[in-house]
């Protein structure tokens, strides 16, 4: 159920709260916040009907800076809290802001269950591949062998691929974008906002203090063209300075392949079979060698909110009297006896 949209003359400024932003200077979170504040007026939703819910971590300070309703909750639990809010208040536009530790480590269970239920939440996962707020331990998206404060000999943990994980959890909308590309970020937020059901957006975000340059390969103008794949609905998947590389589907293979030349697949995020989006997600690993961004998957299925609301509406249509009368009837609905 969508929030009511109205003609509003809001600007980015209307979405700035009076709180001083306290991220480290140079943090990627600033550009995401700015992009969000610029994008919000486009939604056409009154500020009071928008809620940001976050967990714990650097990214989770986000709600304090948005002049909407907001809750900075506890580590990992934002999807659960937001689920209760969204289901009981389908008139609201509910956004979850989380990080790689918050969403994929301590809160992994809530994330996958929100996605499988298809709760009408817009989940923004700021992935910087490090624990920032606790000062630099490896995260569930840190690359194998990562040397951090807690892994002086290198991490022995294989990382999650957040896009693959979301797809495996039956997500209906899955996308990836980058903090430094404001235009792309806003286009992905727009698509996520339009989606009915859970929208999962991974945002590559630079932590300039504890993991600086983590995504440099796909940001640096000198290298990005050969490594960054922009997925566009209905367009052949090609990349490279001369568009010389194609993503192809070799006959007899389960996966996709990058080759020079070749017949490029035409991107269609609405393909029902998640195997396609999953294969796309496997093009990139920790090394970012060939990294797709954009919308991987965008399909429709009834949201949890819709299904629960329908059950309530159907049940309420059976109401036969005032609430007090129904309560009296309920209490008496048993084998009763009367003492005079």
């Amino acid at each position: 159920m969508a929030s009511p949209t109205v003609e509003l003359k809001l600007t980015a400024k209307d979405f700035k709260s009076d709180q001083e932003v306290r991220w480290c200077p140079g943090c990627g979170d600033y550009s995401i916040l700015a992009a969000m504040q610029r994008f919000m007026p486009e939604l056409g939703i009154p500020r009071e009907n928008i809620v940001f819910v976050s967990g714990i971590g650097c990214s989770s300070r986000f709600p304090y800076y948005m002049n909407t309703y907001g809750m900075h909750s506890i580590h990992g639990r934002a999807p659960a809290i937001a689920t209760g809010l969204s289901v009981s208040r389908p008139d609201l536009s509910v956004w979850v802001v989380t990080g790689d530790g918050d969403a994929l480590s301590i809160g992994g269970n809530h994330l996958i269950h929100a996605l499988r239920r298809n709760v009408n939440l817009k989940i923004l996962l700021f992935n910087n591949r490090i624990y920032g707020l606790t000062k630099g331990q490896y995260s569930p998206t840190s690359e194998l062998g990562k040397i951090t404060k807690s892994t002086p000999a290198g991490s022995a943990d294989s990382p999650f691929n957040p896009i693959s994980l979301a797809l495996g959890a039956e997500a209906t909308f899955v996308a990836r974008t980058i903090d430094s590309d404001a235009k792309h970020l806003q286009s992905v937020m727009r698509a996520a906002a339009e989606h009915q059901g859970s929208a999962f957006v991974e945002i590559y975000q630079n932590c300039n203090i504890f993991n600086d340059g983590a995504f440099e390969l796909i940001k640096d103008p000198s290298s990005r063209d050969d490594h960054l794949i922009r997925l566009e609905q209905g367009q052949p998947i090609t990349f490279g300075a001369e568009k010389q590389f194609s993503v192809t589907h070799p006959a007899g293979s389960f996966g996709l392949k990058v080759e020079e030349g070749g017949e490029a697949l035409v991107h269609d995020a609405t393909v029902d079979d998640p195997a396609y989006a999953f294969a796309l997600s496997r093009l990139s690993g920790s090394d970012l060698g060939t990294t797709p961004i954009g919308v991987f998957r965008n399909v429709q299925r009834p949201s949890y909110d819709e299904l629960i609301t329908k059950q309530l509406v159907d049940a309420k249509s059976q109401a036969d009297g005032t609430a007090d009368e129904m309560l009296d009837a309920l209490l008496n609905k048993a084998d009763t006896w009367t003492i005079m």
């Binding site: 009154p46 304090y64 309703y69 900075h72 639990r77 209760g84 059950q311 048993a334 084998d335």
Partner: protein
């Protein structure tokens, strides 16, 4: 069906305790439940105690697989399901062995002889059948071939042998119903509805019931039939109800009387799941139930719903409360209404999931990080769970605080007659959402408090102009902005404690019949029944004793200190190792005497009577 009493002698009794015991698959809970319902129809006062293993089907015929249901009924008001059964129905050797030690000499034992086979006897370590070796000489044993007589009675109906054998519990119910002159129309109606899709099973179970009834009427083994007159009870309409049912209905009532939609987030856990089951049936009241992925999500979703303006509730047992601790702390910091129901069971860890205990009091009062006070209340009986649920919601809504409701397995699964309230007798617990700015400069101050209740405004998303951010970080007084200011933190910690202490709760009442008592017995929660029964017994014997029972565990009633000071001795029986006693000793400097039992079973009235008699006589 014939209802004539025949030529048998009829004796009047004032009370009877019957225990139905059998294998987990024998349908003993259902049998007990039906007998209870028949008894309720007759207007006796009733108290019941189911006792079953956590395993759904423990190995057949073994001691761990024994399931029992005890019902106590009388022609006067009773407080407990009875200490020891007058009658034991034992459907197999395991049921006999597991329950024999609870029987007083002279008790009637009805045994299903068909199950006393060599193999079944061996399973529970009987070398010789106790029916044959004289070891039951002090009891009145009635050997009945329950299974084969049931199968015989159903021979003409053409039901499968297995289905016929399974109807043996109805044969037993028919026999007991005859013995105690129970009306059975509600049981017949129940069978018709339970097996609505299997007319053959309706017929089979009815026939089994009738065969049991007729057997009682004709056999010479049962020479006497008993009658128990209706109890004198307050006029009104009654139903029999378990604590879990009453708690669920109380939550429905809280939603109706607060005019707020109820949102229940829950994860299945024994013995609390029945509350989720019951509430999920009542969507027409606008109730949403969500079976969450885990205990933490369950309370998280409930808190999210509260934030959005619903009456958020989560139901669980002790292990679940442990997992919910961090979210309860968040609710304390956010100062939002939330009801957390803990149906206590024996711990620690998985403990004994189907056995009772009151050992979560410490966790409810203190089980969180930081100074994290909240309100705690505990129902005293099955039907009191209804009113306790409304009271928990009232406090949560009015004072914007999480409230822990401490039920336990004893009240949750036990049952008693309940004088039905009418909705208009129930309190109006509605509260107002904040819709306008409250600051002098037209600002909205989310932590500016109501001077009377110390509650902060409840401004829900969707309210224009009141957009604000809240969170678990310490907040500045009034503005709610993040604050690390030392003086502010000191102020906020003390304010959170003071606002819980300021919650208005009823004064503690003392039952002290002749006002000569020098000993006060102080209890809380589900021990009300056995303590009350013990006190009555002492008074009948001329021994003075005062009883007070706590329902509000936090904050404690304002007059508690005064009550305690009025007695020479304070005794505190609890199903834990003295958790309330610690509180009382620490807070009131009273040398209270703890009396503790942690067997997983409720106190018997006799245990408490003996203990209290000693204190009254010897100090």
């Amino acid at each position: 069906m014939s209802v004539s009493a025949g030529a048998k002698r009829v004796e009047q009794l004032d009370r009877v305790v019957i225990r139905f015991a059998g294998d987990s698959g024998d349908g003993m809970q259902l049998t007990g439940d039906r007998f209870t319902s028949e008894t309720a129809q007759l207007g006796n006062d009733i108290s019941t105690l189911p006792n079953f293993p956590a395993e759904i089907r423990a190995p057949a015929g073994t001691l761990p697989g024994v399931s029992s249901f005890q019902v106590h009924f009388a022609d006067y008001d009773i407080l407990t399901p009875g200490d020891s059964p007058h009658v034991l129905v034992a459907m197999n050797p395991a049921a006999l062995k597991a329950n024999l030690s609870d029987l007083p000499a002279g008790a009637d034992i009805i045994v299903n002889t068909d199950e006393f086979t060599k193999r079944n006897l061996a399973k529970v370590g009987y070398a010789v059948s106790p029916l044959e070796d004289g070891s039951l000489a002090e009891y009145a044993v009635h050997p009945v071939a329950l299974t084969s007589m049931t199968v015989g009675a159903l021979a003409e109906l053409g039901v499968a042998k297995k289905d016929a054998e399974r109807a043996k519990n109805m044969f037993a119910l028919g026999l007991l119903s005859w013995m105690y002159s129970r009306p059975f129309s509600s049981t017949l109606r129940f069978l018709e509805s339970k097996f609505a899709k299997r007319p053959d099973l309706v017929a089979a179970n009815k026939a089994a019931f009738q065969a049991g009834w007729n057997f009682g009427e004709t056999t010479e083994d049962f020479a006497v039939r008993y009658e128990i007159k209706p109890a004198r009870m307050k006029p009104g309409t009654y139903r029999n109800i378990t604590g879990n049912q009453a708690l669920a209905l109380g939550l429905v009532a809280a939603s109706v009387r607060s005019k707020l939609p109820l949102f229940l987030g829950a994860y299945p856990i024994t013995p609390a799941s029945d509350i989720l089951h019951e509430l999920s049936k009542h969507k027409k009241f606008g109730i949403t139930t969500m079976q969450a992925e885990d205990e933490i999500a369950a309370i998280g979703a409930a808190l999210g719903a509260s934030y959005g303006g619903a009456l958020g509730v989560t139901t669980t047992s002790g292990p679940g409360v442990a997992l919910k601790g961090e979210t309860i702390s968040l609710a304390i910091a956010l100062e939002l209404p939330l009801v957390i129901v803990d149906v206590q069971r024996a711990g620690p860890s998985t403990g004994m999931p189907t056995k009772t205990e009151q050992a979560d009091l410490n966790m409810a009062l203190y089980g969180r990080h930081g100074e994290a006070p909240l309100a705690v209340i505990a129902p005293k009986s099955p039907s009191d769970c209804f009113h306790a649920a409304i009271e928990a919601a009232r406090i949560a809504l009015k004072y914007r605080t999480p409230v822990i409701l401490l039920s336990d397995n004893y009240v949750a699964n036990g049952s008693e007659p309940w004088l039905l309230p009418s909705s208009d007798e129930l309190p109006d617990i509605s509260v107002e959402f904040t819709t306008g700015a409250n600051g002098d400069d037209g600002r909205f101050l989310p932590y500016l408090r109501d001077p009377e209740t110390m509650a902060r405004p409840w401004a829900i998303p969707g309210t224009p102009g009141l957009e604000h951010r809240i969170g678990g970080l310490e907040k500045a007084d009034k503005t709610g902005d993040i604050s690390y200011d030392p003086a502010n933190h000191e102020h906020m910690v003390r304010t959170r404690a003071a606002r819980i202490e300021a919650i208005e709760v009823p004064e503690l009442e003392v039952e002290d019949a002749d006002e000569h008592a020098r000993v006060l017995v102080l209890g809380w929660g589900s021990t009300y029944g056995p303590i009350g029964a013990a006190c009555r017994a002492l008074r009948q014997r001329g021994l003075p004793i005062a009883q007070a029972h706590l329902r509000h565990m936090a904050p404690l009633p304002a007059n508690l200190g005064e009550v305690l000071a009025a007695y020479d001795k304070v005794v505190i029986p609890e199903m834990n190792l003295g958790q309330l006693a610690h509180v009382i000793r620490a807070k009131y400097l009273v040398d209270a005497v703890p009396f503790n039992q942690v067997s997983g079973l409720p106190f018997t009235a006799a245990t408490l009577e003996n203990m209290l008699e000693d204190v009254v006589k010897n100090g």
